[in-house]
């Protein structure tokens, strides 16, 4: 190991515990540090703040102005956005998005936790083979199975319905969450299983009464990420949904893009804001889980 040269001297026990590295940094440095970080955050969050401001700007102010605050704020953009587009109301888009995201959350959590329990805690013949395959699908680009999947759903008459977007989630096709839960369950002490088995618990009861409650953090992480990813997922929705009454919010936003006239910008930004609200709410409510779940599992945003 390359760090071997830096290993501590043998008499480490006698060296004082407070090494110079751990000294409290000076006040000036601390202030400077906070200033740098805050400046960085300001730049980083500027586009979001700009979007918020733009959603309240009248049409003539929207595009060119760098200013965050509108000179003459207006609600009109939100009124127009909620009125909908192409004869379909905002409520319909919202309902569609919520329905698909909600269905996906249920599907993913249920199917993935079942599969994960089998992989993590049960012994069966083909477990190695299946596990290897599951790991492989982690890296498989979606595009490889995309076209045949589309053909399958088309033959079943399911294109332009929500089925192609929700059904796969009930079949644990998102290997990442299976993997996440397996990793989590493997961290639970085996002694639990043994104790429960001695007490006469079968694998079913062990799952329901012991593993499932303990795995709650992993389930919550899965639920949150599934919701956000499905909510943001543009590609699948673009492919499978064609009639505006089935459109989700991302697709509805795309309809707005086609109206490139300047007057449509305000409502478009208002709608963008409304689309981001659920993600922001989830973020604020669960940020602890999000950051932890990410850190412990290597999950990506």
């Amino acid at each position: 190991m390359s760090t071997a040269t830096l290993t501590a001297p043998e008499d480490r026990g006698q060296t004082p515990v407070t090494s110079p590295k751990r000294k409290k940094p000076g006040r000036v440095r601390t202030v400077a540090w906070h200033a740098v970080i805050l400046a960085f955050i300001a730049v980083l969050l500027y586009p979001i703040a700009w979007l918020l401001g733009a959603s309240f700007k009248p049409a003539n102010e929207v595009i060119t102005s760098l200013a965050l605050l509108p000179e003459s704020p207006t609600w009109q953009n939100f009124v127009d956005a909620v009125a909908g587009i192409g004869g379909t109301s905002f409520g319909t888009f919202l309902y569609n998005s919520l329905f698909i995201a909600g269905g996906s959350v249920i599907g993913n959590v249920v199917s993935c936790v079942l599969a994960a329990y089998a992989f993590a805690r049960l012994r069966f013949k083909l477990s190695k083979l299946m596990f290897g395959f599951m790991l492989m699908t982690l890296m498989l680009p979606h595009h490889v199975v995309l076209i045949p999947q589309y053909i399958i759903f088309q033959n079943m008459g399911m294109v332009d319905t929500f089925w192609p977007l929700i059904l796969p989630k009930f079949l644990a096709t998102e290997a990442f969450f299976v993997f996440l839960m397996i990793q989590f369950m493997r961290g639970l002490p085996r002694e639990l299983d043994e104790a429960a088995t001695i007490d006469g618990c079968g694998p079913l009861r062990l799952f329901y009464y012991i593993i499932l409650p303990l795995a709650r953090p992993a389930l919550i992480t899965t639920a949150i990420f599934t919701f956000i990813w499905t909510w943001n997922d543009f590609f699948s929705q673009l492919i499978y949904l064609s009639s505006p009454s089935n459109y989700t919010l991302p697709l509805a936003l795309r309809l707005f893009i086609d109206q490139t006239s300047v007057s449509a910008y305000g409502p478009m930004f208002a709608m963008s804001v409304l689309t981001l609200v659920p993600i922001a709410l989830f973020f604020f409510a669960f940020q602890r889980y999000l950051v932890q779940g990410l850190a412990t599992s290597g999950l990506k945003g």
Binding site: M1, S2, T3, T5, L6, A8, K21, P25, T30, W33, I37, I41, L44, L45, P47, L51, I63, V110, S111, A115, L122, R123, F124, T137, M139, L140, P141, H143, V144, L146, I147, P148, Q149, I152, Q154, P168, L171, T173, I182, Q183, R190, G202, L204, F207, I228, N232, F234, F235, L253, I257, Y265, F269, S272, L276, F283, L294, A295, G298, K300, G301
Partner: protein
């Protein structure tokens, strides 16, 4: 990290094999039964939505298929056409490579830099982490891609800012030389996800090593290159692999910024965008399938390369070989 986890999981659980009791008798039968019951959704998905479609897609890649008439076998035609007659394909490959090679290193560098800044416990740490992480969640949405499109448009906010300091670019999204950078910036902006993973990795590094480095009088830079970087290498490796896999498949940003066209002058014609155009706008399903398989091979090749070279630069604690 990945390799370590894979090894760990793939090997049979040692604690269990010891107790031979569990193996025989009705208990293991019950376990097998329940295992298959619990796995049945996953198995159905694997067969119907993964293995079956993979075989079908490989087959379709050798056919001419438009979704309405039966596929017609054309052998290697699609692949040959891709490489010899399709200029747009070649430029989509170039565009995608450019994107991957720009965005992945920049994003990881930003993630590592900020992680190092945030590593020492200070007031407001939780808030800072969340603030840096927020773009990773929002950035994948069409709403934010629209913001980018508007900020970088001709006469847009960025353009007017640059003009005010005397630089006239005339908008970025409408110029082939600049359009790509709009999408790269959008990607790098979302460095929060790898950053959190870096932070977790930094926490794992034993303080002893830093103490020892301090005792040896190592400079900050020396400590960084001799302690932090090697100890963090498994995490760097993990993030790099994830980033490569993801950025090759990037779609939404390019689609929204270029209004689904991949323009101007195909300068943002990402691979997946071109695949979408061929498959779902022109209904050349066989052709698009061939593209999908080339994407799989490319990703496998690059991930393989990273894995292969990883022996040289990834260090696992407690691995003395």
């Amino acid at each position: 990290m990945v390799a370590q986890q894979v090894n760990e999981v793939a090997s049979p659980q040692p604690g269990r094999t010891g107790s031979g009791r569990a193996r025989k008798g009705s208990k293991s039968k019950e376990q097998t039964g329940i295992a298959y019951l619990f796995l049945s959704p996953w198995i159905a998905g694997a067969v119907l939505l993964t293995i079956g479609p993979m075989v079908a897609s490989l087959y379709l890649s050798f056919t001419d298929y438009n979704l309405f008439t039966a596929p017609e076998w054309v052998g290697l035609d699609n692949y040959i056409r891709l490489f010899t007659q399709d200029d747009r394909f070649m430029s989509s490959v170039g565009v995608t490579f450019q994107y991957v090679f720009l965005s992945a290193p920049l994003k990881l560098a930003a993630a590592l830099g900020v992680a190092l800044l945030l590593n020492r416990p200070r007031k407001g740490q939780g808030f800072y982490r969340s603030a840096f992480y927020a773009p990773s969640l929002l950035g994948a949405s069409v709403g934010i891609a629209l913001v980018w499109r508007s900020l970088f448009t001709d006469d847009g906010a960025v353009d007017s800012l640059l003009s005010s300091v005397g630089i006239n670019t005339g908008g970025w999204i409408n110029q082939p030389d600049y359009a790509m950078y709009v999408i790269v910036i959008l990607a790098v902006w979302q460095f929060g996800a790898p950053m959190v993973i870096f932070l977790a990795g930094l926490k794992q590094i034993p303080q002893d090593l830093y103490d020892a480095a301090a005792v040896d009088g190592a400079s900050t830079w020396k400590t960084f290159t001799s302690v932090t970087l090697p100890m963090l290498s498994p995490v760097i490796f993990f993030n790099l692999v994830m980033e490569i896999i993801q950025s090759f498949q990037s779609f939404t940003g390019a689609f929204v910024v270029s209004n689904g066209q991949g323009g101007p002058a195909d300068s943002t014609l990402f691979y997946t965008l071109y695949l979408y155009q061929r498959g779902f706008q022109d209904f050349q399903m066989g052709y698009a399938s061939a593209m999908a398989w080339l994407l799989l091979l490319t990703i496998a090749l690059f991930t393989g390369l990273v894995f292969k070279t990883s022996g040289r630069w990834v260090f696992y604690a407690g691995e003395d070989k």
